[in-house]
Amino acid sequence: MNSSIDETVEQLEADFAMFDSWEEKYEYVMDLGRNLNWPDHLEQREDLLIQGCQSKVWLDHEMQENKIIFYAASEALIVKGLVAMLLNIYSNRSPEEILRLQPDFLDRIGLSQHLSPTRSNGLHSMLATIKRIALAYYTG
């Protein structure tokens, strides 16, 4: 049984609260990145590419029993890790759950710099795309 979206976020925050240094934080993120897998077709599909200036991010999804399953790929290891973190939270959730979650947990774990609109790494666009997809199903 999956934990709820709120439980997942709480767990993430708890994990990050244990880290004393930036090195540990990034080790954690990069480990997530090393374990991120995605279907081969993602990187071949230009239409799945989320435009980011520095690191490409591809995002695909499918609907299964009112849950949106997201798949994402990226080039840079840290971005892969952040992508994995977002998927862990947002994938396999109902549109309602996705839309209800306030993304301020990113501030609390001290990684929001990587998701602000001015950091051109595609992650902010990825989060926006996730919400847009959820909204489309929700109003759909």
């Binding site: 090195e23 990034y26 990069m30 200036c53 520095q54 490409k56 840079a76 840290i78 971005v79």
Partner: protein
């Protein structure tokens, strides 16, 4: 025969106290931050603030407008700034110096005005494969409007230009060569005097993108004999929002204006408006008065240090950086290894994305640029997504370079 390489003049002045110079830059002096992103924009010395404050508190008004005393004082200072720039690049006539919004604005101005005056369908503009987008896109826009074509001088594997390809690329259809002097992403110093001479032999005028050259070496537009030259103030310790477009008077003045407005007109009638000559013809509207006046103070500051000294210092720092990188980091590939380079060192850690390297360096208080550096065609030429770029300025130190390499070692270990 004019002197083709003005930078080769011998040094005669006393050694510079670089620690004292560093103390002139409030944001970095006495701070832990290692700022190696000078090619994006340089830090600002106190003289910039002092000049702005002085003008704001004593002599600020609009220029070229009023009979009142303040406006006259402001106009005098603004025009004196133009003279200072003209002297800095050794322009024959200060009217050949037009203030713009920056290098990008300068090139857009020239591309439009030159295109209107001289470009016919089928004509060609010659660029190189290492241009910044700012020296590609304005020409493409113009070429599209005029039915002209863009030709490109290829880049060799070491990041220098394929000079042997020149003769095949230049011909009667070539109406302009627009070329970067120092590559913002590789640091390559192109042999501009040679290239200008070569183009002139075909009767082709040359525009030089000196955005990354002007901060690092003496510029003598008459010695190199360029027809147009563009650079930005903010990359050489000056304010943002200000740049220069230099042009030889006989080529520049006949060009039609790029923007219309106040200050650039001779006489406005609804039937027909006539325009001023250089430089006002290309300075529509209220210019960046404070910026230009402050920039003049910065140029005096740089001239007092000596551009030759600055060049020698920056070559020494970037060569030292390059050597240590090559010697101690076999897992790192330098991108661009041309014999002549300055300030910029671009590299990739094998198998690692440049952005990962940049983020981990940032966490160690080091500012570098990662990405394609607005040179996507060049990155494609090398088949890479981008690079990590360290760009050094005269106020950087050997000690910072040492600390950088400690941080790079740690970064590579984290990315293992």
């Amino acid at each position: 025969m004019s002197q083709l390489n003005p930078i080769a003049a011998p040094f005669t002045t006393a050694p510079v106290d670089w620690n004292a110079i560093r103390a002139d830059f409030p944001l970095i002096a006495g701070h832990d931050l290692i700022y190696f992103d000078n090619a994006a924009s340089s830090q600002k010395p106190k003289v910039l603030l002092e000049a702005m404050e002085n003008m704001v508190t004593t002599s600020y008004a609009n220029v070229h407008r009023g009979v009142h005393r303040l406006s006259q004082q402001a106009t005098d200072q603004y025009e004196a700034a133009r003279k200072t720039v003209a002297k800095f690049i050794n322009a024959a006539d200060e009217a050949e110096v037009v203030f713009t919004g920056g290098t990008t604005d300068s090139i857009n101005t020239l591309a439009f005005s030159f295109g209107e005056a001289h470009i016919q369908p089928g004509d060609e503009i010659l660029l190189s494969g290492m241009e910044h987008h700012a020296n590609i896109v304005p020409w493409q826009l113009m070429a599209e409007r005029k039915g002209a074509h863009i030709k490109v001088i290829p880049v060799l594997e070491n990041g220098s230009l394929d000079l042997e390809a020149l003769d095949a690329l230049m011909g009667p259809k070539t109406k302009l060569l627009s070329l970067v002097w120092v590559s913002n992403s590789l640091g390559t110093v192109n042999p501009i005097p040679y290239l200008i001479q070569k183009a002139h032999a075909y009767g082709i005028p040359v525009m030089v993108d000196a955005a990354q050259a002007a901060p690092h070496m003496p510029i003598d537009v008459q010695a190199i004999d360029c027809d147009f030259l563009a650079f930005s103030a903010h990359k050489m310790c000056g304010p943002t929002g200000l740049g220069v477009l230099y042009g030889k008077r006989h080529l520049f003045e006949p060009l039609p204006p790029y923007r219309g407005g106040g200050d650039m007109i001779d006489r406005v009638r609804f039937e027909k408006t006539t325009f001023q000559g250089l430089p006002f013809r290309f300075e529509a509207g209220t210019p960046h008065i404070l910026g230009a006046v402050a920039f003049a103070s910065v140029l005096s500051y740089l001239s007092n240090i000596g551009m030759q000294q600055i060049e020698a210092r920056e070559r020494q720092l970037s060569n030292s950086f390059r050597q240590q990188l090559q010697l101690n980091f076999p897992e790192v590939n330098a991108i661009g290894t041309a014999a002549d380079s300055v300030s910029v060192v671009s590299f990739l850690v094998q198998g690692r994305h440049p952005m990962d390297v940049g983020v981990l360096l940032d966490n160690q208080n080091i500012a570098v640029r990662t990405g394609h550096h607005c040179c996507q065609p060049l990155m494609e030429r090398f088949g890479i997504p981008g690079t990590v770029r360290a760009s050094l300025a005269f106020y950087n130190t050997e000690e910072e370079i040492e600390r950088f390499f400690v941080a790079l070692r740690k970064t590579i270990q984290l990315l293992r």
